[in-house]
Amino acid sequence: MAAKTGFQPSVIYQDPKAAIRWLEAAFGFELAIYIEDDAGGFVHCQMRYGGALISVGQEWDEPFKSPLKLGGKNTQLTSINIASDVDAHCALARAAGAVIIAEPETQFYGDRSYRCRDPEGHYWSVSQTVEEVTREAAEERAPGLKITGWV
């Protein structure tokens, strides 16, 4: 059984089976648990990435909607932290059909990251730490921000 730990985002899709295939192709997520009913209908799914889990959900209850039903609005996004080569990760996602919202770019706080939208309009942010930046340096690079708790 998959190790369960920490914060596990659930992402709601109109077509969860298609979403599973897409998340495998675009981000390299692996199926951890897949639950179906006797008729082969989707019930629940967890996918694994680097020891973490996400749930792929369907619109099982009225308040839970795909962004497709909300004019593209999202109430949450999922952040993926990778160890190396964010540019290659972005190329793979693009090839799988991700809409790249922000191309890979090194941020003032030392991460190189990109942001994309999946086929149902969920947003994903993918980051790799490329530079250790002190709080003082970050505040200098981004005037106007007040940073608390940066160690």
Partner: protein, 149 residues
């Protein structure tokens, strides 16, 4: 700071109030806060057992609080805890969480409760009581369970 491989980011109209709620209700700890200088939060990390949830707001563009969408939401967050799930539910209730499902043992071996926070984001908390194989889960739930170790 160690960053876990996957972290959810939630959008709130009042991100600072949300962080305060998450600390009081669930015992999370805000370990990083980036204030935009106008009362908004452009980034934060709220930690629990070495993992983080990020809280931002007020949202704009394609991002929204469930408050802006009539309570609708495009996801939820599950938190797996080591112990004390009933006490955690009481703590959440006392802090103003709306408990949707009271703590109950599930056929797949976890004890789970679910709740809404003040802006309508959905949270579930689970504590493993019994580790079950895919076959055992199939028998217990009546669904067909495929699991990869």
């Amino acid at each position: 700071m160690d960053v876990p491989p996957i972290s959810p980011l939630l959008f709130y109209r009042d991100a600072k109030a949300a962080l305060d709620f998450l600390e009081r209700a669930f015992g999370f700890e805000t370990r990083l806060l980036v204030d935009d200088g106008q009362g908004g939060v452009i980034h934060s990390e709220c930690a629990f057992e070495g993992h983080v949830v990020m809280v931002c707001g007020p949202p704009s563009g394609q991002w929204a609080s469930p408050l802006d969408l009539g309570g609708k939401r495009t996801g939820s967050v599950h938190v797996q805890v080591q112990g004390g799930i009933d006490a955690l539910c009481e703590q959440a209730r006392a802090a103003g969480a709306t408990i949707e499902r009271e703590p109950a043992d599930q056929p797949y071996g976890d004890r789970v409760f679910t709740c809404l926070d003040p802006e309508g984001h959905s949270w579930s908390f689970g504590q493993t009581l019994q580790i079950m194989s895919a076959d055992e889960m199939t028998k217990a739930t009546g669904h067909v369970v495929h699991a990869k170790p």
